[in-house]
Symmetry: C2
Subunit: 290 residues, 2 copies
């Protein structure tokens, strides 16, 4: 089965467990709305690709790790879109969860997705309990405090955020966790896999900043120019368009170099190259990572 | 070490891990504000008492289970107090998290506490991995969807909520999980412990509804009359003051009867009697549960 199918099926199993008979119908619908249809699923793709490169001896656990990471990503999007943060009406070209279901259900859908991520891990962990503690801690740290996604978002409420720490927490941590969790789920030493996640995470953040500055709302399926409008720290504000573009190119090359020499390395290189193409805004010269 | 000290120390370890150097300072302060000083810690007290009654052979896991349940309870209070729900300024006699730190950090503090609960479980689970899957699933279901706390809150957004299902999800599920998680953390069969949690949970919900209708803001340390003002489903609205009081008395008696015949049963009976006294509003006749 290809990676994309495994990811969608794992997400379907997880959301199906929550949006089951007996669930409040609007919340169940809000959960589906938040997760399907997805974006590029780049984090679970990375997680599953690393698990495969490490032998993938317990596919149910690899799938659950990938799904957990995507559910947490979706949770963060739903909460980031709420009125007290971005107040966004549009996401992936359709109305945001709170725009459709109201603010209370937007907040609750995000909460439910966080819980569902850890429930999915625990459920799959029954088949290989000795891997569950490290796997859950890896995923929790990537989204929690002091260094995960929630901490990253909270730096926006500080008077003098450190750009590097902010971006590492807000975007980088979940990429690192995707890479590390793939290895842990497959019973491999996660150490050699951190570098790949770190570089891809940083590249992704810079690409996101560039797209926010360069793209049209139609191209992105969401409002643009938000960083500048909200005075948020951004690679474009810090390095300029050209500087940020050069840094993106450099990081994608470094990501390819960071892939350990394992049998599955070519598949992973393909994934990074594909992401490189997808991440580069059309208004910048194509990024070469060969 | 007594139960209260174990609970506060476990919570301190968890919050200390999040509010560590490198965390965004305001979020770290908001997390402390949300957890300390606590209320009666009735859910972790129940969890730890059950663990002790079951032998408590892995105290670190029992402590983590109790702490996780309390962290999730605190998370739900922080999110329930937000403007899109209760819009409450006061909780436990002090300003709510969002009243002090603003709405964005209120939302993020709740998210961080959810993550921290599962991180604490996973961290302690390393000592006894084979118990972690069931423990995490128990806790996740109690707060997630379809039947946990978040689902309970979401029933308030439905046009025709079922009162029993709403209360079972919003309050009962976490009491059941507290009881069941105590047994699972101690390696015991959780089956016989559901009944105690169910009855205490229902009693607690009715007591909460009664206090909302009968107490002054000074007695509760938070606004009162919210159920009636917001048109929320409530045992007082459904059964009247007298009917709700009688039901509370009946449930507390049933909770005592539901305690399995184990060596630690007297300690648990004491706990229930103590809660019975605490839960009964002064304006109702004292509840006899002997």
């Amino acid at each position: 089965m290809d990676a994309a199918t495994r990811i969608e099926q794992a997400l379907e199993r997880a959301v199906g467990r929550a949006a089951a008979p007996g669930a409040p119908p609007k919340l169940a619908a809000a959960l589906r709305h938040a997760v399907f249809p997805g974006g590029a699923r780049v984090r679970p793709q990375l997680s599953l690709a690393v698990a495969r490169a490490c032998g993938d001896d317990t596919p149910a656990l690899s799938d659950a790790a990938a799904a957990a990471i995507e559910l947490l990503h979706c949770a963060s999007l739903v909460h980031d879109d709420l009125p007290c943060f971005d107040d966004a009406e549009l996401r992936r070209g359709k109305p945001t969860v709170h725009a459709v279901y109201g603010e209370p259900l937007g907040l609750l859908a995000g909460d439910a997705l966080i819980v569902l991520a850890f429930e999915s891990l625990a459920q799959a962990g029954a088949a290989m309990p000795q891997r569950l503690p490290a796997l859950s801690v890896t995923v929790a740290r990537a989204v929690g405090v002091p260094g995960g996604l929630v901490a990253g978002q909270a730096w926006e409420s500080e008077p003098r955020p450190d750009l590097a720490r902010y971006q590492r927490a807000k975007t980088g941590a979940l990429f690192v966790a995707a890479s590390v969790a793939g290895a842990v789920a497959a019973g491999a030493d996660p150490g050699p896999w951190r570098g790949l996640g770190e570089r891809l995470g940083e590249a992704y953040q810079i690409a996101d900043d560039l797209r926010d500055a360069l793209c049209t709302p139609e191209e992105l399926g969401k409002p643009v120019g938000r960083d500048a409008a909200l005075g948020r720290p951004s690679a474009v504000a810090e390095f300029g368009l050209e500087g940020a573009g050069a840094r993106l190119q450099q990081l994608l090359g470094a990501a390819v170099d960071a892939i350990p020499a394992v049998p599955g390395a070519p598949e992973l290189q393909q994934l990074v190259l594909l992401q490189a193409k997808r991440l580069t805004p059309k208004r910048l010269a194509p990024v070469s990572v060969a």
